[in-house]
């Protein structure tokens, strides 16, 4: 199955910056400017049909020039194949287009990535912290977040009577 996809990617209409294979699944790296179009194409195009966004996460590589990497894990229920799509983002401007209009599942994933890495998703309907309390300062999964740093315990919110 992944062989089919591999062949198909030879004629991929968008630029692929890097290609690889890990743990039996293909990985492609694409540019940030094209991400929306690429994802839409992958979701809708014949032979690709990635209808399921399995996961959306990010990694911080402090030694790289483009420090952040946003990773989409896609699966096609009709074609039964998987693909990893990566996008690299510079530290100074960690911003990328939201995938919420393509997959509803992206909503909370993107909020989590925003929460942990401070990566902003343009066009997200409700981009606020998901797991950490409001008022938390910084983004703890960035490698430069001080280990063991603790923040103020939030006060109980007022319950309207």
């Amino acid at each position: 199955m992944s062989g089919d996809l591999e062949n198909r990617l030879e004629q991929f209409p968008f630029e692929i910056l890097e290609k690889g294979k890990a743990l039996g699944d293909l990985t492609i790296v694409v540019s940030r400017e094209k991400i929306s179009e690429v994802l839409r194409f992958l979701r809708d195009a014949e032979g690709y049909r990635f209808d399921l966004l399995v996961d959306l996460s990010a990694v911080d590589f402090p030694n790289r020039e483009e420090r952040f990497e946003v990773i989409y894990h896609l699966y096609s229920t009709s074609e039964n194949h998987r693909l990893r799509v990566k996008v690299r983002l510079p530290f100074e401007e960690p911003m990328i287009d939201s995938a919420t209009d393509l997959w509803k599942a992206a909503n909370w994933y993107e909020r989590e990535v925003y929460d942990m890495f401070g990566i902003r998703f343009n066009g997200h309907p409700n981009l606020k912290r998901l797991l950490l309390p409001d008022g938390f300062e910084g983004h703890p999964l960035r490698k430069d977040y001080p280990m063991g740093k603790r923040q103020k315990i939030p006060v109980p919110v007022e319950v309207p009577s």
Binding site: L132, P140, Y145, G148, K149, R150, P156, V157
Partner: protein, 161 residues
Amino acid sequence: MGLKELLGGTVVTTKLAEMVAWGRKNSLWPLPYGTACCAIEFMGTVSSVFDISRFGAELVRFSPRQADLLLVLGTINYKQAPILKRIYEQMCEPKWVIAAGACASSGGFYNNYAVLQGIDEVIPVDVYVPGCPPRPEAILNGIMMIQKKIENQAKEMGRVA
């Protein structure tokens, strides 16, 4: 002549505070604040093998207004902390708190940016039960220690009056 001798074996004399405490300690209504794996162990404690009702504490309440024993079973993170505090505040006096397990007592092995290092940072705790998770016997022991404490509190009161 003492009252006892006068009435023979037909009555028991006690102090009101101690009698109330005797009732209280044998009819604790626990509120299980279960947030993680320790809560599973509490289910075992309630079940017939270990049978918490031998100690009169089987009437588990999910409204803080009706409970007098707060059992915190599991990891409490910073986002959860104000909710726990609010629940504690909503319980009527007199009330007691058991921190069951390593997480509730000290944060356990979650020494990181997100987890409260022991619930005593936000609410007072009467008994800490060690273990990860504590065995049902340990939780029962914790409840027995609460009973002892209720008894002693009444005795203290008697001495002051």
